[in-house]
């Protein structure tokens, strides 16, 4: 599948990857998780990543998050600087939200986790409150995580990341384990946050509709090791609406195309095996 060349100036790029590949050593020899990838992410855009299972989506996100080192011959730049460990102002929101919250801290103190080294007292409290407000959980601030539902715990994780005022938010299937209603309300909250903060958001999802609904672009990965099989530009107007946007012909076309490429890749994967 051809890859679109990126024509934007370096200064506008949140991420720029050339020949990005990841290999991991196993008992049966080195195993390549990502084939060499070339792509970039503009500042302030929402990039959805979809793809077949095992294509390396989480690995890709973890590379951008500085948690997994790429092969030496890859070039991965965050805001023009090569990544060595978690880059500045880049924050990751994990799929397993329950495990990512510190169970011995209240919600407030969980959100304060990243801030407490820098801010104290009144200012810390205000920032924590602001973040909780963004996700609508200020009222439950003094409770412990176990008392909150899954959707709320995920919101706490998001609030914790937002409290740091990140430039980039990396999210790994953030709404995957939630029911449909919670999911759609969180999707809209995410869009609101994006509008208010202008952060770059890169997120992985198995929900193709969600990918198209939220994203400015959709990146489809497929195959083992993962390769880019499609990059779709989503030209739908903002602000998006759960009902209106999803009825637009352009939405349906994009959704169709996205499904097709993933399904094709999935079939190819099965027949190859």
């Amino acid at each position: 599948m051809p890859q679109r060349p990126e024509l934007t100036a370096v200064g506008d790029l949140a991420f720029s990857c050339r020949s990005l590949s990841v290999e991991v050593s196993t008992k049966s020899g080195p195993k390549r998780l990502l084939a060499p990838l070339d792509f970039s992410v503009k500042k302030g855009e929402i990039l959805s990543i979809i793809g077949t299972s095992g294509a390396g989506k989480t690995t890709l996100l973890r590379v951008l998050g500085g948690l997994v080192p790429p092969m030496p011959d890859s070039e991965v730049l965050a805001a023009g600087v090569p990544i060595q460990g978690p880059p500045d102002r880049v924050l990751m929101v994990f799929q397993d939200y329950a495990s990512s919250l510190l169970p011995w801290r209240t919600i407030r103190k969980n959100v304060a986790l990243g801030l407490e080294t820098q801010y104290h007292g009144e200012e810390l409290r205000d920032r924590v409150d602001a973040a909780l407000d963004l996700v609508g959980l200020k009222a439950r601030g003094d409770e412990y995580p176990w008392r909150l539902s899954g959707g709320m715990q995920q919101r706490v994780q998001i609030a914790r990341a937002l409290a740091m005022e990140p430039a980039v938010l990396l999210m790994d299937e953030p709404f995957g384990a939630l029911d449909a209603i919670t999911k759609s309300s969180l999707q809209d909250e995410l869009l609101k946050v994006h509008e208010q903060t202008g952060a770059t958001i890169i997120f992985i999802t198995h929900d193709v509709e969600e990918a198209v609904y939220l994203g400015d672009r959709v990146l489809a990965l497929g195959g083992v090791p993962g390769k880019i099989i499609e990059v779709l530009d989503v030209d739908l107007p903002r602000p998006r609406s759960q009902i209106m946007t999803k009825e637009m012909p352009e939405f349906l076309r994009l959704r169709h195309r996205a499904y097709e490429s993933v399904v094709e890749a999935e079939l190819r994967l099965r027949t190859d095996q």
């Binding site: 948690l67 460990g85 990751m92 801290r105 986790l113």
Partner: protein
């Protein structure tokens, strides 16, 4: 040498019942009836001068005598002092060892046979050796108590390290935490719950071994008093001291259990 954990009572419907049930010590007080009735019957039908089974009132008399004689309270103090020092040392050493052994598979396997041997050996067997090596000292008392009581703490900490939630470490990386901060805000709190559980299971062990050492060696303490009254064929004092030690143990275990539940109130009801 460990004792099983408390029996969990039936979960009451009321909120108070549920909260107490979470702590695992809701047991209907009516259950004390057999004890109370037994003691009452003994008091009524027993005699003051039976050689082997004097009535409870005689026990009280003997205890008061000991108190007046100036031996009771120092003994209690000595036992409690040794107990507290032992628990503190056991917590620190057990916690650190547990972290090391839990974190490194290699160290775990390397030290396993040695540790297992000490764990399997009853503390009563260690006392003569302790006496030979360290004499009749507080050091010996504390050392052996620590060796006996350390296992629940060590094992619990080790398990917590093994089952440590890896996502939390990822969170630490994402928030770019320095290692000291990582240890302070993530590893230690996660491990301390396990340590507290270990202390709760280890406290009764510590009590038993402390008393045991006092009985065996005559070092000042409640156990020594107990052994002494037995040697003097003072059965009333023996019973009295037995009950007193039992009550102290009960209160101590209750206190430790309460501390544990205080520090784990962030956890959902079990």
């Amino acid at each position: 040498m460990s004792q099983p954990t408390a029996v969990t009572g039936s979960t009451g419907v009321s909120r108070r019942g549920r909260r107490a049930a979470r702590r695992g010590n809701v047991v209907p007080l009516r259950g004390l009836a057999p004890l109370v009735v037994g003691l009452a019957l003994w008091q009524i039908f027993g005699t003051d001068d039976s050689a082997f089974f004097p009535r409870p009132s005689t026990w009280v008399v003997q205890i008061v005598d000991l108190a007046k004689g100036g031996t009771l309270w120092p003994a209690l103090g000595a036992t409690l002092e040794s107990l507290l020092i032992s628990l503190v040392v056991a917590t620190i050493v057990g916690g650190i060892l547990g972290i090391i052994v839990g974190a490194s598979r290699f160290v775990d396997r390397a030290l396993n046979p040695t540790l297992e041997f000490f764990r399997a050996t009853p503390s009563s067997a260690m006392v003569p050796i302790g006496v030979l090596l360290l004499g009749y000292t507080l050091t010996m008392k504390v050392s052996i108590t620590v060796i006996a009581a350390i296992w629940p703490i060590l094992l619990s900490t080790r398990a917590a390290m093994r089952e440590f939630n890896p996502t939390l470490l990822d969170v630490a990386s994402v928030f770019k935490m320095s290692w000291p901060r990582r240890i302070r805000t993530i590893i230690l709190p996660a491990v301390s719950t396990a340590v507290l559980l270990g202390i709760r299971v280890g406290a009764p062990v510590a009590i038993i071994v402390t008393i045991l050492i006092e009985i065996l060696t005559g070092i000042t303490g409640m156990g020594a008093l107990l052994a002494q009254s037995q040697q003097e064929y003072n059965s009333a004092a023996t019973f009295g001291l037995l009950v007193m030690i039992g009550i102290v143990a009960l209160l101590f275990n209750f206190l430790v259990g309460w501390i544990e539940s205080f520090f784990t109130r962030h956890l959902p009801p079990a």
